[in-house]
């Protein structure tokens, strides 16, 4: 069987639009957040197991790689949350006018960036990352 014809997703034929960027980001952040859940499971199991297990977990979270992941997970969670609320409005039949979904796109982007900054400012100001 020939695979010369493009299979979905064939993104290269479209110009980039904020709506499609958010649609893709919703999926990407959703997949990424599943990894975040596994980290949370690790943390809870470590907390239940022993202090030394928790120290290993906290050490990972405090490393530069861990911090980078946590920052990415914070942004992913907040973007998926904001955009998810947008999806729920669509499910209720609201916000389908072109001006509305363009505005809501940018509201989601600005809100999730602002909330991520707020969360990390709060973490820094209350004692610095682990």
């Amino acid at each position: 069987m020939s695979h010369s014809r493009p299979l979905s997703p064939h993104l290269s034929i479209y110009e980039w639009r904020i709506t499609m960027v958010l649609s893709i980001l919703h999926r990407v952040t959703g997949i990424f957040l599943c990894g975040g859940l596994l980290l949370l499971a690790w943390g809870l199991l470590a907390l239940a197991a022993s202090e030394s297990a928790w120290t290993v977990f906290a050490g990972f979270c405090g490393s530069w790689f861990g911090c980078l992941l946590l920052l990415a997970w914070t942004f992913s969670l907040l973007l998926h949350l904001c955009n998810g609320i947008r999806h729920l409005f669509w499910d209720a039949g609201a916000g389908f006018a072109k001006s509305e979904y363009l505005t809501s796109s940018w509201v989601v982007v600005i809100a999730s960036v602002a909330l991520t900054v707020a969360v990390w400012m709060w973490v820094m100001l209350t004692g610095g990352a682990a």
């Binding site: 999926r27 957040l33 599943c34 729920l88 209350t126």
Partner: protein, 134 residues
């Protein structure tokens, strides 16, 4: 008298579309995804509120923070709903992009097993932190 040949299947097309529809599963997946999404809005906000305090805590303080009835209950709800919602979402991604049938099937089964195991592990760990003696 009906001159036409006897139909092989006496069920009307309505039988085939009712309940399950052409997708064979009806709106069940869609609806569960929305229900878990609605539940996760307050749960995720609560989790952020809890999680921002954790980086500053040593083992004993982190343990004490999680080990309250309210936080244990909310953690179990958040992780169980989260794993469920994650499984539903990953299922759609796999169904959309994995075009080799057996790989698709293996992945679909694997994420279900992982989601159940993950949710159970989180629930047991949270209960242990709450009820365990340290």
């Amino acid at each position: 008298m009906n001159a036409h040949a006897q139909p092989q299947d006496m069920r009307t097309p309505l039988k085939r579309v009712r309940a399950l529809g052409s997708a064979k599963s009806g709106a069940g997946h869609w609806w569960r995804q929305r229900l878990t999404a609605v539940a996760l809005v307050p749960l995720a906000l609560w989790f952020v509120w809890l999680a921002v305090r954790l980086p500053h805590l040593d083992f004993a303080s982190a343990h004490a923070l999680v080990a309250t009835p309210c936080n244990t209950l909310l953690l179990i709800l958040f992780t169980a709903t989260g794993f469920w919602h994650g499984q539903l979402g990953l299922q759609v991604v796999i169904e959309d992009y994995v075009h080799t049938r057996w790989v698709e099937l293996v992945l679909l089964v694997a994420i279900r097993f992982l989601a159940v195991a993950g949710a159970l592990a989180c629930a047991l760990a949270a209960l242990d932190v709450w009820l365990g003696v340290y």
